[in-house]
Symmetry: D2
Subunit: 185 residues, 4 copies
């Protein structure tokens, strides 16, 4: 018997037709039966982090609460300027504080991502992995989900049309669920 695994997906792109958000939806559809994936809708509502703000505004508190409630977090990571998006980094700046009691601490994480170009978001994912060392969030190594020229793999309604990518997402989902289980005490 497998106990339920609740995953939270956070997409670094804010545009409505984001293919990285589409990647999260497609992942949700191929997860093992005991796992679920909710997709965050608060990242784009967060104010810019400023440590002069001593109490978390309500939207920040809600953003952090959903991380706390999840068994694991999956970042969908576009690549802007060879790094993560400002929006995603801003979300981490909020979520990782205060360090000793941050909801990111010991939270199992995974990363998926795609890009219009050949990088498939690999430069952004490398930066994200470094950030997750700071927050002490154990992050799945492999399989890596790095999708180059991602617009060729989705139709105009944002549905995945490439079966090799779907198969990769299925393997990633299995590995992510095992990763969460491994880090449960």
């Amino acid at each position: 018997m497998n106990s339920p695994v609740r995953l939270l997906g956070i997409c670094g792109s804010l545009r409505s037709a984001s293919l990285n958000r589409a990647l999260l939806r497609e992942l949700a559809a191929v997860l093992p039966a005991h796992a679920t994936l909710d997709i965050d809708d608060k990242l784009g509502e967060l104010p810019l982090f400023n440590s002069d703000i001593k109490d978390d505004p309500p939207v920040v508190a809600a953003f952090k609460a959903q991380i706390s409630a999840a068994d694991g977090v999956i970042f969908a990571c576009p690549e802007y300027n060879y790094s993560v998006t400002g929006a995603l980094k801003n979300g981490l700046d909020w979520a990782s504080r205060p360090p000793p009691t941050s909801p990111m601490r010991n939270k199992p994480c995974g990363i998926v991502g795609g890009a219009a170009g050949m990088s498939g978001s690999m430069r952004a994912q490398a930066h994200l992995r470094q950030m997750l060392i700071y927050s002490d969030s154990p992050t799945l190594n492999q399989p890596e989900v790095l999708i180059p020229k991602q617009f060729e793999r989705f139709d105009s309604t944002g549905r995945l049309t490439d079966e090799s990518t779907r198969d990769l997402l299925r393997k990633f989902g299995l590995a992510m669920v095992a990763h969460v289980a491994r880090h449960r005490s």
Copy 2:
């Protein structure tokens, strides 16, 4: 005769007593006589970048205009989660678009930074340098301004009290002005 050099300082921290902003003020005070440094006050007013927004909002247009008007940009780079701040990355996401005509393209850049810990912001600066490859912004290599335990070097009013740091800023300013001159066609 040296022609005037107008530099723009952009501080990645939004807090009012930021020591990284203080570093920019101290740098301004030791620049060569023909150079000036204005400090940006718009980064914290920018909305989160979203490529669905087709026309630059006024604050974005103003942020980009001051970069265009400057002969060079100096980033004051704190380190949050072993990387640049979300606010700074968000500013770059706006400023670097559209790539062919972005105000960052060919703009000579330099980086200074400090941190409360031992890193002196070096991990954040390494990420920032990678971002500036994307925007094709030639960035000064050395001297690097990496200030560890920066609170020990400023008094409670944010004035620099450490003369070795002031000397480093003076050398950085000279190198930055030469860097701008080298990249003027």
Copy 3:
């Protein structure tokens, strides 16, 4: 009852009085009772990796065999040119091949390191972590062992004289042993 944990230490510096190798010796002295740490002496004997060499030379085979035999690997990571040493990278180039059956695959890893300067080897460790994603080697996040100005913490015979560092090594050892246990199937 804890089953024995055999760790292999690999030091990226080849000089005889290396303080990174000294760090491994000091770590060995504070490990939990059921853990042991052997220190590699083959890295400096390896030829430069060349994929034209189809069969592993004996010293390469011996280097890889000791990794295979270990339950976990701890890299002592100096920082040369803001990255790992060429010798350490060369060892990984050998050990990580062929990828599907490499002794590094799924091998739990940890990193310690120090430097004469302020970085404490953090830039080199960041590069090493990226390499270990390729080889799918789960690597301990924290505590990070980053020792700045390491010559101030050892006496002239290479003995650690700083008790806060010894305490950090003790915590690292406990975390590493737990990390190995977590990744045993």
Copy 4:
């Protein structure tokens, strides 16, 4: 009138049929008329760097002398384990010492690279750029030469068959020659 520009190419792969070395040969063929590119053959002969060796062995001295004699250095950068090769890093460990008088200091550099996979060597190039900050070697930003699936672009004798790649090399050569000129004086 353009003064002659002597470039040195250093290939990080040691295998005889290296496509990264082939990339250097193809670059040599499309450089502006006043520029020449010699290709190093000593990297694979260097011993592993060890700071206990106080005097440069002859092959090290010869390796460094050719860097000193060149107006600029172009690295052909394969990607092993998501980073530069051990051989290339080892060459830099030798060439960058001693820091104040190293032949790398202020030496204009450029990077080209390809890989069998989709990365086109971008992860390795990012690491190499960080190393070149240490040695204060100004490195050309763009155009970046990142060749994915490079075996599809060369014939079985190592001749480039892809004209878009040749055009990119031509642009890179022009930019590199301008980069060298900018850093003279």
